[in-house]
Amino acid sequence: MQAGLRTAVAVCLVTTLVHVVLVFLHVAPANPVSKRYSSQVNGWVYPLFEQNWRLFAPDPDSFNRTILARTAHSDSKGSVQVTPWFDLAAVDHSAVDHNVFPSHTSQNLLRRAWTSYVETHGGSDTARSERAVMLQTYLRNVAADRVAALNGGGGTFEFIQLRVITLPVAAPGAASRNRPPAPSEDRLLPWWKVTSHGK
């Protein structure tokens, strides 16, 4: 009985120490130790204890993103109608404006859909991995849902295209503060076929 209890306590203690060390290696900047034991660290930490505390680190983003979308609809006669650009990010900004508790749907949904897309695709728009295909589908769904909501569910469309404009935040004290900044990137994505969403 006593021996069993002692063993149990020892197991608790060892588990605690192992957990603490592995979580430390997971959150610390990459170093020789965490590289050497990366398989053990990942095996323990993923999926439940995954964490990342890099909001605003190493540097906060120094740009705002404008994410635009337009849709195309081919009617029965075969002619294709393309809508003007909808500003999807502006919807988020106005939802955050004067809101004590902004929703995750305005602060994180589109923002993280785009950053996750960039993480898996880089500069190219060809999906090279299963994860990339998934995130492309996700981004397309997000945009299609947003456009459909903006339309009030009115117009139907079969294709959607995104355009992402990156606007740098002016350095502090810059004279250009009041002028709109020149975009540092203007990325036009290919037309995507919309399937299940945004009818």
């Binding site: 439940l48 993280r112 997000v142």
Partner: protein, 406 residues
């Protein structure tokens, strides 16, 4: 966690070894020293659960935060967690196959099933916060938080991440011993039982009971250690990464953070703050310094001013950057470092303030006797707390502590 309390532990185990150790050889001394350490560690781990108040504050804090979060996203619930989300159930399933996650939310694509899960999540969060059948509720709460987190993994931020980790760790703690419905029920039961002696257990049953108590205590203490370490790692890694960033070094990082449109609920306020580059620089440096220094200030009195500054910082983040959920999660996490005597002191402070603003001046001799005994209820008098509460209203502090002694 109440790290300051560690020296208070009666280190019972080492004392018998002490005299013998003086006469032993050097090797023997080392041996004895080692045994003493083991004994002290054993006592520290098994003697009693540490920081029960802090654990309860975490339970109440995260239960409440999650409840508020679920209610806040009520209009968007389908978009975030439901079958109508752009992260479709099919995509979620595909990702779970790759990562090994799981979620109760993808068991069915039925809308009614989702609404049921949502309501269950609300109820679970509320009951967990209140501490009703806490251990079972803590397991349910962890399942709910993990399920909802995994389902909306591409919409989460640091706040959600922290709540998930804490929900997992809290399962292992005895977080329902203070300020909970469980504690209240036990108190009432004890009061009703009155002078009736505890039922006599057989020797082996008693042993089993003791072993269970010890094990619960050890698991709780280990979990509290993990929670404390987790919060240290959070600050430490956030700080270490910031040290690498040139904008934090040049003291302009907060200027950029204040100009992000998605984190600018009050643009006029953000621009006003942005007008003061000196303030921005000082705040940027203070942020990094506090984060890196955080683990090192916890073992002394310095932690009180540091925790106060961090509290202010998080309130600032909540308002200026529009991140109340993240800030709330951080503030609750910081509460783990306050010792039990701090929390035990709060109700007294509260009563004193109530007294001062009360209509009648208090009688000084009764105030001095504020260290009270819980009301001695008799069998068949279930209203013992009622009486204590009404006594409290009459500003008689002597009986007022009924609500904290479990």
């Amino acid at each position: 966690m109440g790290s300051e309390q560690i020296p208070q532990f009666p280190s019972t185990a080492p004392t018998p070894h002490r005299r013998a150790a003086q006469e032993a050889s050097v090797a023997g001394t080392a041996d004895r020293w080692f045994l003493e350490r083991i004994g002290a560690l054993w006592a520290l781990l098994t003697h009693r659960p540490v920081s029960l108040y802090a654990a309860s504050v975490l339970r109440i804090g995260y239960g409440l935060l999650y409840l508020v979060y679920l209610l806040r996203e009520f209009p968007h619930r389908d978009e975030i967690w439901g079958p109508g989300s752009p992260w479709t159930p099919a995509l979620a399933r595909q990702l779970f196959d790759q990562t090994g996650w799981n979620s109760i939310l993808i068991l069915s694509d039925n809308r009614a099933y989702f609404e049921l899960c949502y309501v269950m999540a609300l109820v679970t969060s509320a009951l967990f916060m209140l501490g009703w059948r806490t251990r079972a509720m803590s397991v349910l709460f962890a399942v709910v938080v993990a399920s909802f987190h995994a389902r909306s993994i591409f919409m989460t931020d640091g706040g959600d991440n922290l709540i998930l980790l804490m929900a997992l760790y809290l399962v292992l703690t005895s977080c329902g011993r203070r300020w909970s419905l469980d504690a209240r029920r036990n108190r009432l039961l004890a009061a009703r039982a009155g002078d009736v002696p505890e039922p006599v257990r057989s020797f082996s049953a008693q042993q089993l009971h003791d072993a269970r108590t010890t094990l619960t205590t050890v698991v709780h203490n280990c979990a509290m250690l993990v929670i404390a370490a987790q919060v240290c790692f959070l600050y430490g890694s956030a700080g270490l990464y910031k040290v690498q960033g040139p904008t934090w070094g040049s003291g302009t990082a907060l200027h950029y953070a204040l100009n992000l449109e998605l984190f600018q609920p009050w643009p006029a306020l953000s621009h006003l703050v942005d007008e003061y580059p000196m303030m921005i620089a000082i705040a940027s440096y203070l942020t990094v310094l506090l984060q890196v220094a955080f683990p090192f200030v916890l073992f002394g009195r310095l932690k009180y001013p540091v925790l106060t500054v961090l509290l202010g910082m998080h309130i600032g983040i909540a308002v200026l950057l529009g991140l109340p959920l993240f800030s709330g999660a951080m503030i609750v996490a910081d509460a783990v470092f306050l010792p039990d005597r701090f929390y035990a002191f709060l109700p007294r402070l509260w009563r004193r303030a109530a007294q001062r603003t009360g209509t009648r001046p208090s009688a000084p001799d009764r105030a001095a006797g504020a260290v009270s005994v819980p009301p001695q209820g008799r069998p068949g008098v279930p209203g013992s707390t009622h009486r204590a509460v009404s006594a409290q209203k009459d500003i008689t502090p002597a009986t007022g502590l009924a609500s904290e002694h479990g």
